[in-house]
């Protein structure tokens, strides 16, 4: 097993473990922290795939901004493990079962799909993930969606302010 493979397995295991911890943590703050770990693992995956830009943007956007926002909200609400609403055990079981069957179905689908056999995702090499190439594509072919997304941001900002305003 070479280094890249072992990194892949390590990061995957870390991500899945952290994701499970997100689900089972009683304390929302712990959930947030575990989710940040997931994001770090996924950023690690991006680095493995040589998508440097996305790796760091993932950190900045998700870990640096979105999760801070979550933390903010949780801290402001002062939510503790006791505040966690109780859920019917049967419903929980049922949820896990349906999620699991979803996973099973899709995995079996992937196993059946012939088009995917032999296809590999290029690790470490390949320069499309570099910021230069991404930037070129973003500002030439995708400039309209880019601008539209800025409008989306603005409207989301306004919306959040309007919703969050007292009365």
């Amino acid at each position: 097993m070479n280094l890249l493979d072992s990194l892949f397995y390590f990061l995957s295991a870390l991500a899945i473990f952290s994701a499970i911890m997100v689900l089972v943590s009683k304390n929302p703050v712990h959930s947030v922290l575990w989710l940040i770990t997931v994001f770090f693992a996924i950023s690690g995956h991006y680095v493995l795939l040589n998508a440097q830009f996305l790796a760091i943007v993932n950190l900045i956007v998700y870990a640096g901004a979105i999760m801070v926002l979550f933390l903010f909200v949780i801290m402001l609400m002062n939510l503790n493990a006791e505040a966690e609403p109780r859920k019917n055990l049967w419903l929980k079981l049922f949820g896990i079962l349906s999620g699991g069957s979803f996973l099973m179905v899709l995995v079996s689908l992937v196993r059946q799909t012939a088009e995917l056999t032999g296809k590999t995702a290029q690790l470490k090499d390949g320069n499309i993930g570099l910021i230069k190439n991404l930037g070129k594509a973003l500002f030439s072919d995708f400039v309209v969606p880019f601008e539209i997304s800025s409008v989306l941001f603005l409207s989301a900002m306004v919306g959040a302010v309007v919703i969050g305003k007292k009365d």
Binding site: F8, H45, A51, Q122, G129
Partner: protein, 111 residues
């Protein structure tokens, strides 16, 4: 790295997100699980992007085939950020009104 591994991994993350949404009643955790699902999709997109790139590289060395996948991830992040800002504002609003973040308290969209 065979693409299936990435698919399995991302499916697992995605399913964990689904399970979280189904089993938790804390609106914030549910929201976080949605972010988890988004991230699983993001990773899969990047993996597919690299898969297509690897396939196209043999034909043309200077190709940027598959770059769309990564750009999609970028846009998904944009949408996620916008979504979180509005969604959290809504959750805060909800908390202010009901003093709870149980999503089942949202079963009536009034009062």
């Amino acid at each position: 790295m065979p693409i299936q591994y990435y698919i399995y991994f991302c499916l697992a993350l995605f399913s964990l997100g689904i399970i979280g949404v189904l089993t938790r009643r804390n609106a914030i955790i549910v929201f976080m699980c949605i972010e988890l699902m988004l991230n699983a999709v993001n990773l899969l997109l990047v993996a597919f992007s690299k898969m297509h790139h690897a396939a196209a590289l043999q034909a043309a060395p200077q190709t940027t085939a598959g770059i769309e996948g990564q750009l999609f991830v970028f846009f998904i992040m944009v949408v996620a950020a916008a979504e979180v800002s509005v969604g959290l504002a809504i959750i805060v609003m909800m908390y202010r009104n009901t003093h709870s973040i149980d999503i089942n308290f949202l079963n009536r969209l009034k009062n």
